[in-house]
Amino acid sequence: MTCIEARGLRKTYGATVAVDGIDLRVEEGRILGLIGPNGAGKTTALNAIVGLTPYQGQLRVLDRDPWQERDRLMRDVCFIADVAVLPRWIRVSQLLDYVSGVHPHFQRTKAESFLQRTTIRPASKVRELSKGMVTQLHLAMVMAIDARLLVLDEPTLGLDILFRKQFYDSLLNDYFDGTRTILVTTHQVEEVEHVLTDVLFIDRGRIVFQRTMEEVESRFAELMPRPGQAAAARALQPMHERQSLGRSVMLFEGVERGQLAALGDVRTPGIADLFVAIVGSRPGAAQ
């Protein structure tokens, strides 16, 4: 079943175009990474998907119109928008009480068992918790909701590396069951790429790259040519070339790996390398 379907999704703030006609189709059970530079329109697109902002164009999420039916949609959609949005005055136990009181798909016992693995006490107030603990708490709440779509907007911003790793591990091991859909934006691309099934680059409001991870692995290759082979490699028309430790690193699309292996060391490019090659080389890009 289709989880998210957008056609010509557009959002402007005055003269600024934040999202400039996005076509997108996400099937259920995918983990999609939305990667883009600051101000690319990621958050705006996510806000439209979770019904926080009106938009132009067509958008259906779990077969509902998110702007018209946000409250109904939120029974099946969870989101962690940015960080530190949990109310600071609330106690952990009050938070559990309240969400149990209003959310039909929240399983309190599940949240409690997640929290037991942490140092968060039920009597603590959110303002007394560290940033990492607040994120743990939010994640525990979200994971106890039996939702069909989870939207994460920079969920690990400002956390140390241990928390970040733990966050994605919990998400994969305790939450993702193959039927749920997860949509995540982050700047720490390296930390999510092993989690993703699909990747999407967005730049200045438009989708500039959209592939499954299988496609990335089969179609793209990175070559570090042996000395003297650089010219031969360039003849194969790399889509991008950079220097690393004094050697050229070339990125190829749709070139046989065997052909490349004859010229040097071949590996699958990381998402970050792909991102720099594709978004960084667009006219008018920052670098």
Binding site: I31, N47, V50, G51, L52, T53, P54, R70, D71, R72, L73, M74, R75, D76, C78, F79, I80, A81, D82, A84, V85, L86, P87, R88, W89, I90, Q94, Y98, V99, G101, V102, H103, P104, H105, Q107, H138, D146, R148, L172, F176, D177, G178, T179, H194, V195, L196, T197, M213, E214, E217
Partner: protein, 303 residues
Amino acid sequence: MNTPVMAEAPVRSRDVGEIPFRRRFAWLIRREIMENRSIYLAFLAVAPLIVVGFAIRLATMPGKLRAAAALDALHQHAVIEQPYTFAAMLLMFVSVLVSLFYSVDALYGERRDRSILFWKSLPVSDLETVLAKAAIPILVIPVITFVATFFTQVLMLLMTSLRLAGTGLSVWSQLSFGQMTWVLFYHLVLGHGFWFAPYWGWFLLASAWARRAPFLWATLPVLAVSLLEKIAFNTAYFGQWIAYRFSGGPVSGPGNAEPMTIAGVTPVSWSQSLTSPGFWFGLALTALFLMAAVRLRRLRGPS
């Protein structure tokens, strides 16, 4: 490589659970009280002060009662009821302040601390949220004020009885406590809740509108309109209307009989208020303000 192992179809609770509106709304109200503890703490702070003050006053009570015995029944009644009225009025003043500060912050605070992003991630509509927030000054605070006043006055009455024990004096025959309590309830719910509802609605609207300084947004436009009227027409109808509404309008009584009693500022019958056009106009205005606040909450992200 990244294809996850398909888990067995888990048992989904999503088709079973449905939270009825009443239960969800009750939780929304509870949430407001959890966050804004001043809704009841303010009364717990002021009521003991009243009781202590009254205890001191009790020392001279028998003398005052004997002096009042020489007067006619109406004055006697007023002298006895006065401290109770004073207690009620003090708590009403607290009530208005608490409602004011609550309403001005209710829809602004959640945007300022960005927690609105969390509240909006839950299956609760903007309409339900705004209605719950409006219910605090319109229903919850008047009822809490009533309870606080009732217990304060009961305590005062018990203390009076203890003080007067053995003096041969009694206030029981003079003080119609039952009627006083009923009038108080009526005054608070109808007056402070429904008659003042347009104020609370307006403050909530200012709170939903303001990107900063919601208190200024709540007050400056009112001053601006009054000033404009004064300059343009040299009249003050707008300001008078607002003041008239605050003074109670038809919800308050004739105001000449016993100025220092709650009954003096409260009409005798419900029908008198419920048939006054001003009452219904106020409620319609409140509905308009709240509808605008719902729209704003829906459109405005965190500031």
